[in-house]
């Protein structure tokens, strides 16, 4: 990814937003400002600043902090990023059938893996402990609805 590619992504977002503007239903109410005006102005503004950003990036005036000395990504960056995203995916997939603690522990293990911790029993133990403590504090003590701790929890 470079600033120029980011600008192209931004312009794609503007395109999608502009398409969504066309599907906003017209209001039957008589009013000075309808439901489209403010979103349209915002999409126009975003398109303008995205274009200026793209132009500036094309001229090489925009920064990528990871290119600065001492800030470059170390080898394996994509794997680490994917590992972190996998943590989120695991939680989303398993939280309804398995309750909170197991998916949260697995999610924690993936996050720890993204920070170079090995996938082993120690990691499982620590992440399991973190998930259990959070469930007890949030769900039991503070009454936040996190669902059951485990699938067979009564």
């Amino acid at each position: 990814m470079t600033p120029l590619r980011l600008a192209l992504w931004l312009l794609a977002v503007c395109g999608v937003a502009a398409w969504q503007l066309t599907v906003i239903p017209q209001s039957l109410m008589q009013m000075t400002v309808g439901p489209v005006l403010a979103p349209a102005a915002i999409v126009a503004g975003l398109t303008l600043v995205a274009l200026v950003y793209g132009l500036s990036a094309w001229r090489g005036h925009q920064v990528d902090l990871s290119q600065e000395a001492g800030q470059e990504a170390l080898p394996g960056s994509t794997t680490r990023l994917l590992s972190l995203l996998a943590g989120g995916l695991v939680f989303i997939t398993l939280v309804i059938p398995l309750g909170f603690v197991l998916p949260a522990a697995l999610c924690g293990m993936c996050i720890a893996r993204a920070f170079d911790a090995p996938l082993n029993a120690k990691s499982a133990l620590i992440c399991g402990l973190i998930a259990t403590v959070f469930w007890v504090v949030f769900a039991r003590l503070l009454g936040v609805g996190l669902g059951p701790a485990l699938p067979f929890w009564v």
Binding site: S27, M31, T32, I42, A73, V95, A117, F138, G145
Partner: protein
């Protein structure tokens, strides 16, 4: 006098054991998040928002205030001992504080930071106590046109003045405004930008956006970089926590000067805490009898900026409580918390929720004392926290973030959105886009649209109302100036001298 009586009423509630306990928890958690890199007060308050349905409003806002002040205190510890500021306003503290620690004077650096924070926090709170009612009186004259113009000023200021690039600030702001438009239009009932998904009809939850950008985004960036697991060097807690007579002599003026920079600048829409800390640092450098020590560990260079930072934290509460305008990400999240309780912010907050506001202000005084007690004697505990290995620290942060978002509505869709915002946060971090304009834009977009519609209905569709009403016109002019002046100034400076 009226303010004083109301404040005393606030103290009566704030000193009740339950309220005091929430204040203490807030200060403790605030210091903790200030110390830990990667977590800030905005994220913490956003994570705790789901609790707002279970705890009374007064207790919750007293805790939030404690978190807010505590984070400002705690940030100095990381700056001094790790040379890694826990929050952006503590960057200047790291310049001299870490050098002092390297010279074996970490204890004195932490002491001047904590005492300065206490003094400046108290001065800032005093100013808030006595100036806030005056601002409320002035704000009662505001109509929808003035409110719209004020929001425009706030949005422009947060995007154009703060951060490293006005262009990137404006991109972040526009994205935030666009995200704020998602959901059902409250006036006409028409869905906007929902892609036919019922989950988006209520709009994007501020908690999801803030936690995704700040927690997941930061973790993604650090994981992608792969340098965090190598760890930083934590300095030993060397030197006594007692300051010598000479240290006191060199610190006290810097504390007061820092406080007088911090509060007024923090209270401005474009203020923030970064500018006053920088101004304080350069003032101390200019006025010091030991300018040669700057860059090598000058105590004034820690005392002044830390005081400015804490006074600015009080200043930021001024537009939030009196006008309902957030000027920082944390203030934006607090505004969202007010909305969560169904409390209308703005000048009427003081009349309709006087008890809550004055208890909150009273708790700031008490919080300052709690923080002074918490920070110095417990400093070795905070140092231990800095040694938590990054894999477990970030596993904890992401699991608590996921739990917070999931717990708010048992929605896996929102958890998915959390990681999408995380990716956005990663990109913003990598390409140096500020996150605050996005959050402020997200929250203010529907409010600004509503004010605009009301103003145009009153003026029977006359757009000139925003420019012809004196106050509204002045606010618009200042916004325009903020947009244009930096570019003009840069162009003038670039022009070669004749």
């Amino acid at each position: 006098m009226e303010a004083f009586d109301a404040l005393m009423g606030g103290f009566a509630i704030a000193l009740q054991p339950t309220t005091l306990m929430w204040g203490f928890i807030g200060c403790f958690v605030g210091t903790l998040v200030g110390v830990l890199p990667g977590i800030g007060p905005a994220l913490t308050i956003a994570l705790l928002l789901p609790l707002t349905y279970h705890v009374p409003a007064t207790s919750m806002f007293v805790m939030f205030a404690g978190i807010y002040y505590g984070a400002a205190y705690g940030g100095s510890t990381t700056s001094i001992l790790l040379n890694t500021p826990g929050e952006s306003a503590a960057v200047v503290t790291a310049l001299e504080g870490n050098k002092m620690a390297r010279r074996g004077r970490a204890g004195q650096a932490l002491a001047t930071a904590a005492i300065g924070s206490f003094i400046a926090g108290t001065i800032g709170t005093l100013a808030l106590t006595f100036f806030a009612p005056l601002v409320v009186d002035a704000a009662l004259a505001f109509g929808p046109a003035e409110y719209f113009s004020l929001m425009v000023l706030s949005l422009v200021a947060v995007s154009a003045v703060l951060g490293n690039s006005m262009l990137r600030g404006l991109v972040a702001l526009s994205l935030g405004l666009l995200l704020g438009m998602i959901g059902v239009d409250l006036q006409t009932g028409q869905p906007r930008f929902t892609f036919g998904r019922p989950e988006l009809l209520d709009g994007i939850e501020v908690t999801v956006a803030a936690v995704g950008l700040f927690a997941v985004g930061e973790a993604m960036y650090l994981a992608w970089q792969g340098r965090e697991s190598k760890g930083g060097e934590v300095m030993k807690l060397s030197g006594s926590l007692w300051m010598s007579k000479k240290d006191w002599g060199r610190s006290w003026k810097a504390w007061f000067r820092g406080a007088f920079y911090g509060f007024p600048i923090g209270a401005m829409p474009a203020g923030g805490a970064e500018l006053p800390t920088l101004l304080s640092y350069y003032t101390e450098k200019k006025l010091s009898k030991h300018p040669e020590e700057f860059g090598h560990g000058a105590i004034e260079g820690v005392a002044g900026p830390e005081a400015a930072n804490n006074a600015a934290a009080a200043g930021v509460l001024m537009p939030l409580l009196t006008l309902g305008i957030p000027t920082s990400a944390t203030a934006a999240i607090m505004l969202s918390a007010f909305e969560g309780y169904g409390i209308q912010t703005g000048p009427q907050l003081f009349s309709q929720q006087g008890g809550l506001v004055w208890t909150l202000i009273a708790s700031l005084y008490i919080g300052n004392v709690i923080l002074l007690v918490l920070n110095l004697p417990l400093v070795s505990l905070w140092v231990k926290l800095l040694k938590i290995p990054p894999p477990w620290l970030y596993a904890g942060i992401i699991v608590i973030s996921t739990a917070g978002v999931y717990g708010a509505g048992n929605s896996v869709f929102n958890v998915g959105l959390l990681f999408v915002f995380g990716l956005l946060g990663y990109l913003m971090r990598r390409f140096d886009f500020p996150a605050a304009p996005l959050i402020v834009g997200l929250i203010l977009a529907p409010m600004a649209e509503q004010s605009m519609r009301q103003a145009l209905t009153i003026s029977q569709g006359e757009w000139s109302t925003f420019f012809t009403r004196p106050l509204s016109g002045s606010l618009m002019a200042v916004s325009l100036l903020l947009l244009v002046a930096p570019a003009l100034w840069q162009r003038l400076r670039a022009r070669p001298a004749p």
